[in-house]
Each structure stands twice: as structure tokens, then as C-alpha cells.
């Protein structure tokens, strides 16, 4: 696992956001087409008119590749993201919570389906993208390399992780590539339901017994910094952002999105009666935003390098499911072939 990650040259997309570890920035993919070399006039005109680029439209090769990588990694994040929450389906503490959680994880599988379908409009297929995930050539959001240790973690993921994902993803509903933008409209509607259910889990816990409240606070303490890292490094260290912004794939900078998330989350934490693990958080009248301690990205880069708590577990779970299902997929394909042959025989007869 580790060697896959350190040898990877592709940038890392975190839930619809591109960024890299420092060594990856130092080693750009020399084989990748350079931006703007082959930009068709019709493509530039679409972007300038803020219209959507559709699969039939001409587009630069680098734009197409950037989108494939970003959409695929977003899709991978959805399906790997099924694991940390799926971890609590069998143990959910009430039948109502069990039903909501099953529906939520089912939604994530559904998001994976729409996103792989959106990527397929760019001329790749899902099986190849999955192979790239399984071999470590493509990544998924590092946030899912953290374990869900208690029930409250399910709440914290809904509230903070899905909350951060929404802030990242809402602008993608206006992304320049039509199929991705339309998939994101649907994804964002469901994500906002997920965020509310996460908030509600934590609200119930923080207004429950002392043990429940402690469980909720512990989960928020552990998920706060990784959630802020989901937006990527500061803008100065994020070399891919400028090109993505010029292409209308990305609309706001990492730092702007992170600030937006913090501004949204601080009052919600107060409503929950929980604290955020950063003493520097304070309203700054002049800026019109909350101040906070700058994020230490050392840990994020370690997780991206493969050294997070669950990197190996998440990928091996995914690979095992895929490998153990191979005979089933082969059977389905063989059956479909037989049926097609039978139909043909019937129509000839």
C-alpha cells in the first residue's frame, strides 16, 4: 500500500478537491498534456459564457484528464466512505438509527454509481477506474482512513465530514462539465440530509447521559482537524487549483472553502453544546469571519502517503470484495451472453 502511494504521481482529489503531497508537487507528470496547448475556441467560448461543456463538445485533453481523475477519485471516495459508517450498521443502538444509517450508506453507493457514470461520459469505464483504485494508482479522500471507534463517530462523520463535503461540492453543481455538475446536484441534496442526520445524532448524544455526551465530544475532537484538512493545503501550496479554476472546475480556493466551513460550523457546535478542539476560535469582527489555528498538514500528508490508521484496511476490504465477487460478475456476463445467443437463435428460427 505504502509503495503505491509514494510512487503515485497523480494529484489527490479529496471529495472534489485536488491537492498533493509536497514530493508529488516536486515531480509533475511530464507525460501529462500541458494546459492550453490544444484549447479549442469553442471550448473557451463555452467557459466564457458560463455554459456547460457536454460530452460531445471539443475539449482540451488536459481538461478531460483532470476531470476523469477528479470524478473518479470522488466516486472512489463515495464507495470507500461506505466502510467507516458501514462499520456501525450491525451495531446501531436503535432500529430507527439502523434504518437511517443503512439508507445513508446505500446513498453513498448510489453516489458512486452516478459519479462513475459521469466519468464514463469522458471515455473511460468503471472497471478500469476500479482497477486504478485497487492498484493504488487513483486515490480516495483521506478522511476515510480514520476509524469509526464509537457510535458518535457516525454522527461526527455526518456533521463534520459530510458538512465539509457539502461546502466543497455545492460549487461543483456549477462546474463547467455538464454531467459532473448534474450528478453533483443530486449528490448535494442527499448530502445535506446526511449532514442533518449527523447533527441530530450528536444533538441526541450531547443532550443524553454523561457517557453519551463524552462520546460525542471525543468524536468531535478526533474528527475536527481531519475535516479541516479535507479542503486541502493553503492556497499558496496548491498548484493545481489555478488551472482548475481557469477551467471552471473549481470555483473557490481551498482557504475560502475552509473558512466558509468553519463559519458555518462554529455556531452549530454551540447549538450542540460541544466544543471544537481549537482554543483560538473566535469571531473576528473586522474580517467578518471566525479566526482559527492554522491547520498542521503534517498528519494529512502522512495519511496520503499511506500511513493513516486505516489505509491498508480500507483498500484491502475493497479489493477483497471485488475479488470475491469476480465469479459472480463472470457468471452474470456469461448468462447475458447465453441469453443474447438464445434470442438470436429464436429470431433466426
Amino acid at each position: 500500500m505504502r509503495e503505491f502511494v509514494t510512487s503515485a504521481v497523480t494529484v489527490v482529489t479529496v471529495y472534489g478537491n485536488d491537492f498533493t503531497t509536497p514530493e508529488q508537487q516536486a515531480a509533475p507528470d511530464s507525460a501529462a498534456p500541458r494546459p492550453a496547448d490544444d484549447e479549442p475556441a469553442s471550448f473557451r467560448a463555452l467557459l466564457e459564457a458560463d455554459d456547460r461543456v457536454e460530452p460531445r463538445d471539443e475539449m482540451p485533453e488536459a481538461y478531460r484528464k483532470t476531470l476523469i481523475r477528479q470524478i473518479a477519485q470522488h466516486a472512489h471516495s463515495e464507495i470507500i466512505g461506505m466502510q467507516p459508517e458501514g462499520n456501525w450498521i450491525s451495531r446501531a443502538p436503535s432500529l430507527r438509527r439502523k434504518a437511517i444509517l443503512m439508507a445513508k450508506v446505500q446513498d453513498e453507493a448510489g453516489h458512486g454509481l452516478y459519479l462513475y457514470a459521469a466519468a464514463e461520459t469522458l471515455g473511460v469505464d468503471r472497471a478500469d477506474l476500479l482497477d486504478q483504485l485497487h492498484s493504488g494508482r487513483q486515490k480516495y479522500s483521506s478522511i476515510f482512513n480514520y476509524p469509526t471507534l464509537t457510535w458518535a463517530d457516525v454522527g461526527a462523520i455526518g456533521w463534520l465530514v459530510d458538512g465539509a463535503a457539502i461546502v466543497n461540492q455545492v460549487p461543483l453543481c456549477r462546474c463547467s462539465y455538464g454531467p459532473y455538475a448534474r450528478a453533483m446536484v443530486r449528490v448535494c441534496k442527499e448530502e445535506s440530509f446526511h449532514q442533518r442526520q449527523g447533527f441530530e445524532i450528536l444533538h441526541t448524544l450531547s443532550h443524553g447521559s454523561d457517557a453519551q455526551k463524552a462520546m460525542a465530544q471525543d468524536a468531535v475532537n478526533r474528527y475536527w482537524w481531519p475535516s479541516l484538512m479535507m479542503f486541502g493545503p493553503p492556497d499558496d501550496d496548491s498548484p493545481n487549483s489555478a488551472q482548475s479554476m481557469a477551467w471552471g472546475i473549481k470555483r473557490f480556493s481551498n482557504d475560502d472553502l475552509r473558512q466558509r466551513f468553519i463559519d458555518m460550523t462554529v455556531p452549530q457546535a454551540e447549538a450542540l453544546g460541544l466544543t471544537l478542539p481549537d482554543d483560538a476560535i473566535a469571531w473576528n469582527e473586522e474580517r467578518g469571519h471566525y479566526d482559527f489555528t492554522p491547520v498542521d498538514f503534517t498528519e494529512l500528508f502522512e495519511v496520503i502517503r499511506g500511513n493513516g490508521p486505516c489505509n491498508e484496511q480500507r483498500l484491502s476490504h475493497r479489493v477483497r470484495a471485488h475479488e470475491e465477487g469476480a465469479w459472480v460478475r463472470e457468471a452474470a456476463a456469461a448468462y447475458a451472453d447465453k441469453q443474447a445467443a438464445r434470442k438470436q437463435t429464436e429470431s433466426v428460427a
Partner: protein, 257 residues
């Protein structure tokens, strides 16, 4: 426990435990569409269980969660078929085919139950289970008539699971020994509340036989297994299933979630 509560608990526990097993597949299915489908079916079954447990609770005074989380293994009334381990996709689909075909026949008949709430639950469940049975039948066809390997695995799954279906048709748990009446003369059956499980055997087996035939699979030779889940005599795996399902709720008794 009244005969009606006992009957409803049996149906509720079948759905609850089947759902608990299906939930394991989410993130482990052979393809993404199947993660969605298995979650969907598991959710439907969980919904059936919740409606039935709520109905039981109306007379026992317990909540759905008290019934699901605070009963011990010997008090669960599900058939052993649904509690058995199922980490093989062929086994999961065999089980789903048998169970949902049976549920579909059962709920179809219960739509005319004289018990209005039970009839309403059945009216919803009959639509859901029609889809579940159809979904499972399609997989059994693909696996039975797919590759040599899938045929072999599907037949092996069938051999293992087939005998456990017998308990679905067993009506002896509806005996009223004090009154010395045979199950089919039990009050629940006479007043039209319940459906005699024995009457479901013929239509269920006919449908299963048709699917197996089309899937080029052989109907296994009859074999007797010890399956007494309706009496609370479960297989050893049930204790582990319940430990996992119940531990968090039981660790914080009285708390709300």
C-alpha cells in the same frame, strides 16, 4: 405471551434477523448495484420488522427497541434459516430466494387478515417482497446458468440451505396445548387473523421449483435438519449475531439514541 404476540414476533424476528445478515453485505457486494440492492432489501425487511414489533408492543407495553435489543436469544422466534452465516453470495441469494418467496406468499395471504393493522402491514410488505423474490430469482438464474463455477457454487449453496426452509412451513409453534387443539384449528387461524404456514408450502415450493428448473439447478434430496428457531432453540451463531446487534444498546440501558 399471547398466541397473537407469539405469531407476530415470529414474523418480526424473521425480518429483523434477515435484515441484520443482509446489512453485512453493504460495501462487500460483488458490484456496486448489488450494494444498493442488498441495502434496499435489508431496509425493507427492517421496516417490516419495526412495524410488526411496534404492533406486538401495543399489547405487551414494550417499544420496538426493547423487543429488539433486550430480549435474549431463547426469546427470539425467527426460523434458523435467516440467522445462518452467509458470507458467500450464492448462499445469500439462495436464502433470499427461499425467504422472500415465502414472505411474498405469506403477506399476499395476510392482506386479507381479519386483523386490520396486520393486513395493512401485509399490503405494504407484499409489494416489497415481490421485488425481493424477483431480484433473488434473477441472481439464481444468472448463477445457475452462468459459468461452470457459478453453477457448482449455486448448487452447493442450494444443498446447504434447502433443508432449512422446512421450518418456514412448520405450524406447530401455533399449538395451543392447554386447549388441546391442532395448529390449524388454533383460534388465530379460525378467526382469520393468521395464515397457517403449512398452507404456504405448496405455492412456495412450486415457485422455487420453477426458478431452479430454469436455472438448470437440481432440487436437493430431502434432508432433515434440526431447525427449531420458532421455539427459541437457535443455532450457535445466533448468540454472536445478537451480541453484536445488542451490545451498544445494552451498554447504555435507558438512554435514548
Amino acid at each position: 405471551m399471547s398466541p397473537l404476540e407469539n405469531y407476530l414476533l415470529a414474523l418480526a424476528d424473521d425480518a429483523l434477523i434477515s435484515s441484520q445478515r443482509l446489512g453485512w453485505w453493504i460495501s462487500r457486494a460483488p458490484q456496486l448495484e448489488e450494494d444498493v440492492a442488498m441495502a434496499n432489501i435489508g431496509l425493507d425487511q427492517l421496516g417490516q420488522a419495526r412495524a410488526l414489533l411496534t404492533l406486538v408492543g401495543e399489547t405487551t407495553g414494550q417499544s420496538e427497541d426493547e423487543l429488539a435489543y433486550l430480549r435474549d436469544e431463547r426469546d427470539f422466534r425467527n426460523v434458523c434459516l435467516v440467522e445462518r452465516e452467509q458470507s458467500d453470495f450464492a448462499v445469500a441469494m439462495t436464502r433470499l430466494l427461499i425467504f422472500s418467496t415465502w414472505q411474498h406468499e405469506l403477506y399476499g395471504a395476510l392482506t386479507s387478515s381479519s386483523h386490520p393493522t396486520l393486513a395493512a402491514i401485509a399490503a405494504k410488505a407484499v409489494k416489497e417482497t415481490a421485488y425481493h423474490a424477483d431480484h433473488a430469482a434473477h441472481w439464481v438464474l444468472r448463477l445457475g446458468d452462468g459459468t461452470d463455477e457459478s453453477h457448482r457454487r449455486m448448487q452447493a449453496a442450494l444443498e446447504a440451505e434447502w433443508p432449512w426452509r422446512d421450518e418456514l412451513f412448520d405450524n406447530t409453534f401455533l399449538n395451543e396445548p392447554d386447549l388441546n387443539v391442532a395448529p390449524h384449528d388454533a383460534q388465530l387461524m379460525v378467526d382469520g387473523t393468521a395464515v397457517d404456514p403449512a398452507t404456504l408450502r405448496e405455492p412456495v415450493e412450486r415457485r422455487l421449483g420453477a426458478v431452479l428448473d430454469q436455472a438448470t439447478l437440481g432440487v436437493p434430496e430431502p434432508r432433515v435438519v434440526f431447525s427449531k428457531g420458532r421455539d427459541g432453540r437457535h443455532t450457535e451463531v445466533m448468540g454472536y449475531l445478537l451480541s453484536e446487534m445488542q451490545h451498544l444498546h445494552r451498554s447504555h440501558q435507558g438512554d435514548t439514541w
